[in-house]
Amino acid sequence: MAHQAHAYHMVDPSPWPLTGAVAALLMTSGLAIWMHFHTMTLMSLGLLLLLLTMYQWWRDIIREGTFQGHHTPPVQKGLRYGMILFITSEVFFFLGFFWAFYHSSLAPTPELGGCWPPTGITTLNPFEVPLLNTAVLLASGVTVTWAHHSIMEGQRKQAIQSLTLTILLGFYFTALQAMEYYEAPFTIADGVYGSTFFVATGFHGLHVIIGSTFLAVCLLRQAQYHFTSDHHFGFEAAAWYWHFVDVVWLFLYISIYWWGS
C-alpha cells in the first residue's frame, strides 16, 4: 500500500467541476432563452445540475476530511485561505452595487426630480421592519458565537441549541424581508431607485438563504458527531460567511434604508 511522504491532499479525479461548469452554461444560456422565447426548460435543467453538483462535491469534501483524514493542518490552512479569498471576492461583488447606489443617489438626475429619494417614491420607514431585521441579524451573530464556543468546549447540546437558534433567526429575517418586498409601495421597475434597492437587497437576501443553508448543513453534521473541539473548520467557514452577511446588511441598512430615505 503506497503512502504519501507529505501532508498535502492530492485530490482524486472528480467529475463535479465539469458538471458545475455545464450547469453554469445551461443556467446562463437558459436565462437568455427564457427572456426571449418564454421557455424555462434549459434554465431549470441547469439549476438541477447545479444543485446535484453542489450536493455531491461538498459531500465528497466531507468524506475526504471527516472520514478519510485528508484535512491535515496545512490542508486546513489552505481551506482557510480559500474561504477568506472567496468572502473577499463577495465583498467586491457587493461593492459594485453600493457604487451604483451612491453614483445615482449622490447626484440625482433631473429625470428623477433632481432629488433623492426621487419624486414619487414613498420610501420604507427605516425604524419599522428594517430595524427589526437589523436586530435579528445582530442577534444571530451572538448565537453563532455562542455555538462556536460550545463546539470548542465540547458542549454538544448547547452547540445544537445555539446553532438551531441562529438558523431560525436567519429564516425569520428572510420571512420578514419577503413580506417587506410584497408590501413595498415601490417596485424594481421604479427607475434607478427600484433597481438599486431590489438588486442590492435581493442579492443580500440570496446570501442570507445561502448562509442559512450552510449553517443548516453544519447543524446536521454537528448532530452526527462530525465536529471535534479543535477541528470544525466547516463550521468556522459557515460562521465567517454568516458574519459577512450580517455586515453587508449593516451597510445596506445605513446607506439605502436610512441615509437614502
Binding site: 414619487g120 427589526l132 413595498a184
Partner: protein, 101 residues
C-alpha cells in the same frame, strides 16, 4: 521598541483579562448575552415594528415617466406585473388596478 513601564503593565493586565474570559466559560458568556441582550433587543424591535404597522395609505397615483418603467415585458404572467406585485400598494403604468382601492 520598548514601552514605558506603565504601558507594559497595562498590556499585561489587558492580556490577562482577555485570557481569563477566553479559556473555559466563554460559551456561558455568549449564552448569557443571547438571553439578556440579543433576544430582548429583537423583542423590543418586534413590538415597535408591529405597533407601527398600521394600514399604510395608498400613495396618490401620478403618471411620472421615470417610474413604473416597462422597457421589456416581464417573462411571466401578462408581462406587466413585477414579481412581488401588490395591487393595493403598487400601481401599474396606467394606474392602480380595478376600481379605486
Amino acid at each position: 521598541m520598548s514601552l514605558s513601564p506603565v504601558a507594559l503593565a497595562a498590556r499585561r493586565a489587558l492580556a490577562a483579562a482577555s485570557h481569563s474570559s477566553h479559556e473555559g466559560g466563554a460559551a456561558k458568556t455568549w449564552k448569557i448575552l443571547t438571553i439578556v441582550v440579543a433576544f430582548p433587543g429583537v423583542g423590543v424591535c418586534m413590538a415597535n415594528a408591529f405597533m407601527k404597522a398600521q394600514e399604510h395609505e395608498q400613495p396618490e397615483f401620478v403618471p411620472y415617466s421615470h417610474l413604473r418603467i416597462r422597457s421589456k415585458k416581464f417573462p411571466w404572467g401578462d408581462g406587466n406585473h413585477t414579481l412581488f406585485h401588490n395591487s393595493h400598494a403598487n400601481a401599474l403604468p396606467e394606474g392602480y388596478e380595478g376600481s379605486d382601492h
